[in-house]
Amino acid sequence: MPHRVLRSPQIDRFQYLLLMAACLVLTLPLEFVFRARVYRRPSRLVRTLVPVLVVFLAWDAVAVARGHWHFSDRYTTGWLLPLRIPVEEFAFFLVIPICALLTYESVTTMLGYLADRRRARRAAPVGEPQGAEHA
């Protein structure tokens, strides 16, 4: 019986959407821990995402029309946006770029932090002369 619950179509319909939600939830801490500042620059974020959405949703529409791929009825909601775009695909082309941006900004923060540390160590007057040699 628990097996039936896990495989219940009601939950299965949301698999794709839940996967996208998981991506957002798992990358959210980057905004704060690494001071990615992606969500906190909403205007720049929107102006980045809109062209990406347009280009990739167009690609998606052509690919579906040409039969390159299609979506499982079982694992998607069937909810369609205007132009017959599955809500999942819209979410995908929002979520994945946001994840990429959070990663990029976190990496940038990290590299900046490492560079600052290197610089500080090099600039350190006395203290540890061999530290500079190692760096």
Binding site: L19, R44, P97, L101, T108
Partner: protein, 131 residues
């Protein structure tokens, strides 16, 4: 060449041309970009893997339109080119808008609280906003 394979390869070429011929952000010379690419590539495997796994696929591919090479696991290799283009276009646009923002008002300090009033010396704003 199968259509999806062709489209995926072309998308990578187009995004490269966009950067090298037009945007010129210098992104491809930046270690942060390539480190991000490796991380995103790593996370694409579980996410895309879940979407494309042949045991219970969420996205179903027509084999005739792809190379038929699926690796790792069941991910069509074309998806990695697709993902690279998606990531790179996003980062290029973001970076481009960022450098434009910096050009327009470099007076605004990054760390300043958002509640703080705008800096009085906003003369640097004048040349911007032409968009």
């Amino acid at each position: 060449m199968p259509e999806y394979t062709l489209a995926a390869v072309v998308s990578v070429v187009l995004v490269m041309v966009l950067e090298l011929a037009w945007l010129r952000t210098g992104m491809f010379r930046r270690p942060a970009f390539w480190i991000t690419a490796v991380i995103v590539f790593g996370f694409q495997i579980p996410v895309d893997g879940w979407l494309t796994k042949l045991s219970a696929p969420i996205v179903l591919y027509a084999e005739s339109h792809a190379s038929g090479i699926r690796a790792p696991w069941d991910i069509p290799v074309e998806d990695f080119a697709f993902g690279f283009s998606l990531m790179t276009l996003t980062l290029l646009l973001w970076d481009r808008l960022g450098s434009r923002e910096r050009d327009q008002d470099h007076g605004r300090a990054r760390g300043r609280a958002s509640t703080a009033p705008p800096p009085p010396a906003s003369a640097g704003r004048a040349p911007g906003r032409e968009r």
